[in-house]
Subunit: 366 residues, 2 copies
């Protein structure tokens, strides 16, 4: 990735909502195709697409890899051969709007750096495609709102890649909280971090990432807190540190953030690009506790309950689950449970967390 | 305990430092007694004294139960019989200053409610006794300072009952942090809470407790954070909640607090009177993690390292360890590692955490 800040800012201008709204509503999606899998085009062929999503697409019940968008010709050639893609389904970022004429593509999965999600999601919506966009949704509230507006204007669905919302250990813990199986959840503790490697990667570039570990992995802790609380926070406070300004030029190295919820649940969360082994959550009640650890990887998820009741589920492919669920929504018109509005909620909270950390003042949402 | 707020306020006036300084310095302590154990008087015969400290005194190498101070005649009678105490070593709160004339008592262990610690510690110091005072040291910075002044004026030592500073699993983790065995500690997460029972107990009375779970058990998480960081925090932020204002009239139910340290270590801590199973800490480095869980009970302590190296130590009686260490300090004149100044540091941070939670603003110490 060699997107400069200037290019980024120029690109941002494209997002002005007025221009996006000018296209006429597209014809309704053909929902009768029950036998042919939905075609998914991947936008951005980095390691997530290469190592997780493309392999998952081979195992979905209802999706198939039907196109790619990449700025790297060598990648285009490699993927074309590997996945037997026709030339007309191979795009770069300047041609992807031509997808509008490609009936093989029903869903566009946006897997580009965070600050490009709005541009690519909006282009896809304008091309009449349903959009599945990786988390975090974008790098500002305004960009998320523009994405939602564009998908609604195109009468297409927009989902965020919150794979843990399909993961059975996570879902069981949400059920334990919701049904008060061990009593009311009173306190939630969640953290996710990893020691980041390659100093040249886009995750360390604020213009592309929108922030540091909070944007990339702290969002998982935030999702857990919100899912377990079952409501939206009323306030957030936060602190951040940076001991390595060479590596972390304008992003945080580590951050902690705390949330209070209307019912009095309190959550404290942490994230870091400098730690190992921080990967899980615990929900506490007066009678006990339960949680998932490790929680946020692609595999090896383990859950526990303090009363010793086993929490074991067959492992799933998270990407297969989220893709097939979105395909079901697209086919049936059922709303996705991870819509753009859900992504926007997290962005709003994370932006407030950054403000709280910068100013030393808690941000109230009420 | 039936101490009213009025009585508490009246008692507070006793603490005015000027009055405390007026006594002449006492003669130096006889340090030559190497064969007779040091006599310890317990002030406050609640469950901690009854179930932990008195039994521990039977197992110390260098201490013996030599006196009691209690406001309850029935307790005095019971303890007199059980521990074979002479009448002259049995005091109530109005007579305890007569300890000055009792050579059997070398150390006074103050185990009364938090907001009485200064009064009882200062009376003991004025009676020429070394003081071991339960945590938290007191309920305000000023009271802690008065305790330190009184002990120094009496040329006696003052120690705080930080038993975890003598516990081998805790100490090993502090060593791992200090010696960077798994690399630099970057983030510390610690929590201690329990579902509090009896609604009439003094821990729920702000006038006696000074606060809620932060004062009582959150202090353990704070101690862990400070010990592992090996330095003093530069800022604290905090949030608190209360869903049960009948039980928690003027104290927090749960609280989270975050600390940043000069070297860039960040800690997030949590405490609650409404949760089970929150009892431990983890220190994270780029290479791994280590911690203790459960960490803060009187027994059953377990430590772990992410690299699988076993961290097993023979269980100790925490109270035996802290008592014998303080006896050693008293005998030799060596300074205790848990002096009043150490207790004051925590009180200062906890008071700042309350301020941060009340105002929504982080408090900077620099």
């Amino acid at each position: 990735m060699s997107v400069t800040r200037r290019a980024f800012i120029e690109r941002s201008a494209v997002l002005a909502a007025g221009a996006l709204m000018s296209r006429p509503a597209l014809p309704p999606l053909p929902t009768g195709r029950t036998h042919k899998p939905l075609g998914v085009a991947l936008v951005g062929l980095g390691s997530l697409s290469t190592n997780q999503i493309a392999p998952a697409l081979l195992r979905t019940a209802d999706c198939t890899l039907a196109g790619i968008v990449t700025g790297t010709p060598a990648k285009a050639a490699r993927w074309k051969t590997q996945y037997n893609l026709p030339d007309r389904s191979i795009y770069d970022y300047t041609t992807m709007e031509r997808m509008a004429d490609n009936p093989d593509i029903d869903i566009v999965y946006v897997v580009t750096p965070n600050a490009l999600h709005a541009e690519h999601s909006i282009l896809a919506a304008r091309a009449g495609k349903h959009v599945l966009c990786e988390k975090p949704m974008e790098v500002s509230v305004e960009r998320c709102e523009a994405m939602i507006v564009a998908s609604k204007a195109a009468n297409r669905q927009l989902a965020i890649g919150y794979r843990c919302q399909f993961e059975p250990h996570h879902l069981e813990c949400v059920r334990l909280a919701k049904e008060r199986v061990l009593g009311d959840v009173k306190l939630i503790s969640a953290g996710f971090g990893f020691p980041i490697g390659d100093p040249t990667q886009w995750r360390l570039n604020k213009a592309l990432a929108g922030g540091g570990p909070l944007m990339d992995v702290g969002i998982y802790a935030l999702q857990s807190a919100r899912m377990l609380a079952g409501e939206e926070p009323v306030a957030v406070s936060a602190m951040m540190v940076n001991t390595d300004p060479v590596k972390f030029k304008d992003i945080e190295e580590s951050m902690t953030f705390q949330l209070t919820f209307p019912s009095g649940v309190i959550a404290d969360c942490r994230t870091s690009y400098k730690v190992s082994g921080m990967n899980g959550f615990t929900a506490y009640t007066a009678r006990g506790a339960f949680g998932v650890e490790p929680a946020y990887g692609y595999a090896g998820i383990k859950a526990w309950r303090s009363d010793g009741v086993a929490l074991r589920f067959d492992p799933i492919d998270h990407f297969v689950a989220e893709l097939d669920d979105f395909a079901r929504c697209v086919r049936t018109g059922a709303p996705t449970k991870v819509p753009g509005e859900e992504g926007l909620r997290d962005i709003r909270i994370m932006m407030a967390a950054y403000e709280a950390a910068r100013t030393g003042r808690a941000v109230n949402f009420s």
